[in-house]
Subunit: 446 residues, 2 copies
């Protein structure tokens, strides 16, 4: 018979135990923070109806959606992100969901991209959103949450760049950009991170903006290390002009955010006013932010903002919402690359090695007692040479091996071997649980 | 603009927080046992290549596979179970995986079934398998593991019905069933649970088996409460006949299993020798078993067996393997129906309610300290009336509310309200963390 060639689709991944331990550990840390902040878990199906999925992104997203062949295609597809399904959930279970609804969601999403470095077809997203709070205090909670998570993971230096969509709108209006051109202008501005200020200024000019206007745009969006001063400056500059209305709402929001951040003790160098930050997605309506880790040098690791009109696609009524998406895959990748969280090996506490087949029963019996006592225990039940069994313990990083051999069990004894030192000690089968627990506790204290 | 109708595909489900808490709790318990038994986590992509997926089930499975429209369909599809992907993984990463490989996997799978009660299109499977151990001690470990999990979940009465595929083969051979007819005969036998002994006997006769042969089949497979006695009886009956070879290998395996189960103290009424048990899947080669919970009355909740040739589809060389699949969805459903695990509500420890907008900063500041101390804390930052805020606390089952009001904060005080008794007590902002921790500890002791 022909062998089936074992392989997986490019852009998807298997996670072997070594990967899973790190992944589980990181998710556990993140979930802990979500819970401490009062966020509650949600999960949605992998498949969604096509019109539900495309509502937000329109044609832009369609190319990235994995269609199912179900009923000829284009009826259902794999979910593309976690935000749209959450918006659908809000609309679908309005009576069941208490508002405000703070939800977190950690699930895989799928994108029909051409796979390349850092671009996957299946990856986990990790979102936290506050629905039903129009006040910026919710945005502040989101930013505080990100800061806590990043610090707890062990990334020491992070910065969150913060802006407001309405400030961008107001600024564009002030500069005379027409309403229909604003999305295009925002998309050009969004490239600053990638291509730099000069190239973006050039593109504006090539698109037809006057040099003077473009220069003013960049002059007005220069910042100092004092966001309140910068915001006041902008407020003054835009006063009386077109765009004042949008801008002043944004400026008030941002001032309130910086005031609250200061009050709760998030230091000024952690959150940076960045009036040129756009963030691509069309659905943002208020705050937008992006968090970058500088030590270790990772780059963007979280982003988000306010989207007060997206849920309305499903409800017909605007529902305020703000949230963030954490770059879970990037975080895990960096942790693995830097060899962080080495302790997350998942090794069992002890491996029991029966000397021969006739010792398997006694070994399983001891294993049962160990497990009952909370000691994670593996038993090497295959009939192999002891050398092979010890090699297995080594490979899996097991610290203690219990050898169950006939000569010793006849005397009511077993042998405990420390894999690191090689030391062996005989202990009685009677009381073997307490004895081994004592050895394990000693080890964890060393 | 038209509203997008919020809905999901039949046979798929959303899990709201109340569901998620139970699901997470159950999975945590199960994972705890897997870990204690030395099983290690694995995860594989949602999508697999079509030939990988269909290798095991052949045409039988094809109708149940959710195809992707990717490249015109039939190239990739959603995975149908967790066993085939694991077999692929074993073949694909042979150098990276230490043998024996004990792996567990908890992931969703998809089946293109017509949805009906208890039949879903997306559901979680929960598998544990031992790869690389040909000895039945591995099967014993799997059975012991199931027993532990079921007891820990709180299902008090369970029974595991155990048989061996080679015993069935030997028996059929003895009765003169030709080799190519054996799978059909096993499939008829497999219906006993659904239609009863008489109907199955009838079907055998209608299929063309002589009445005497069928009666002998059922006479030979009658059992007492002593499996060793039953096995000896079978051994004697089949001695010298066709089928002796297959049967005696099976009988030796089963005797060894019952001996080991006795030695590790799993009582005789927990594991029942069931020589008529078939289990539908074609790939089993040795032990087969099914675990049924009788109190509460749930029915089949786990099943599995040995499949020593399946991995060979990908490697070309047989690799022994045995394992089980736990009916996770059924377990969760019963837990929810019976109102078990009510404590898994995920409520925060405390909700902070600022009296007005000007108290939000102080509230967030206290929240930050609470969270740092491990107290899960929600803050009601929306500008609403206090009554509404307290109603939210009630709805989410939060036991303690901290009211932050200007009059009191001016005196350095806040108010702690017990939602159950309605009692309120003023406490100083200085030392509020210790004070609240004391109240929470007191509560958990009550």
């Amino acid at each position: 018979m022909d062998i089936i060639k074992p392989r997986i689709m490019k852009g998807t991944r298997d996670f072997l135990p070594e990967d899973m331990y790190i992944r589980d550990k990181v998710m556990e840390i993140i979930k802990g923070h979500f819970t401490r902040y009062g966020f509650r878990p949600l999960a949605t199906p992998a498949m969604e109806y096509y019109d539900v999925l495309t509502g937000k992104y329109g044609e832009e997203g369609e190319g990235l959606i994995f269609d199912m062949a179900y009923k000829g295609g284009k009826e259902v597809a794999l979910k593309y992100d976690l935000t749209v399904p959450m918006c659908r959930v809000i609309a679908q279970y309005r009576d069941k969901i208490a508002m405000p609804f703070k939800r977190y969601q950690i699930q895989p999403v799928w994108r029909a991209e051409k796979p390349q470095k850092g671009r996957l077809r299946e990856f986990y997203q990790c979102d936290a959103d506050v629905v039903g709070v129009k006040e910026v205090s919710a945005d502040v909670e989101i930013i505080a949450l990100i800061t806590d998570i990043i610090e707890d993971i062990g990334f020491t230096q992070s910065k969150t760049f913060l802006n407001h969509r309405k400030l961008l709108t107001g600024l564009m209006e002030y500069l005379g950009v027409s309403a229909e051109d604003i999305p295009v202008a925002i998309r050009i501005l969004d490239k600053i991170d990638k291509v730099g200020v000069e190239k973006v200024m050039e593109e504006f000019i090539q698109t037809g903006y006057e040099k003077g206007v473009v220069e003013e745009m960049f002059r007005l969006t220069e910042t100092t290390d004092d966001p309140i001063k910068d915001l006041n400056k902008l407020e003054d500059a835009l006063k009386g002009g077109t765009g004042e209305e949008s801008a002043s709402e944004a400026i008030n929001d941002l001032k309130e955010i910086f005031r609250l951040l200061k009050e709760i003790g998030i230091s000024r160098d952690k959150v940076i006013f960045s009036p040129r930050l756009a963030r691509g997605l069309a659905y943002y309506t208020g705050t937008v932010f992006e968090t970058v880790v500088e030590e270790p040098k990772i780059g963007s690791i979280a982003g988000g903002g306010r989207y007060d009109t997206l849920i309305g696609l499903f409800t017909g009524v605007d529902v305020p919402a703000t949230g963030m998406s954490l770059g879970l895959e990037r975080i895990i990748q960096v942790i693995q690359e830097l060899g962080m969280m080495k302790e997350a090996t998942g090794s069992v506490d002890i491996l029991i090695c029966p000397f021969g087949p006739e010792d398997v029963g006694a070994s399983l019996k001891i294993a049962k007692e160990f497990r009952k006592a909370g000691i994670s225990t593996d038993v090497y039940t295959s009939d192999r040479r002891m050398k092979k069994k010890l090699k297995y313990a080594d490979r899996l990083g097991v610290g203690k091996v219990l050898v169950v051999a006939p000569d010793e069990t006849a005397r009511g004894m077993v042998r405990l071997k420390d894999m690191e030192s090689g030391d062996e000690v005989e202990i009685g089968i009677e009381g073997v649980v307490e004895e081994v627990l004592a050895h394990l506790n000693k080890m964890s204290k060393d």
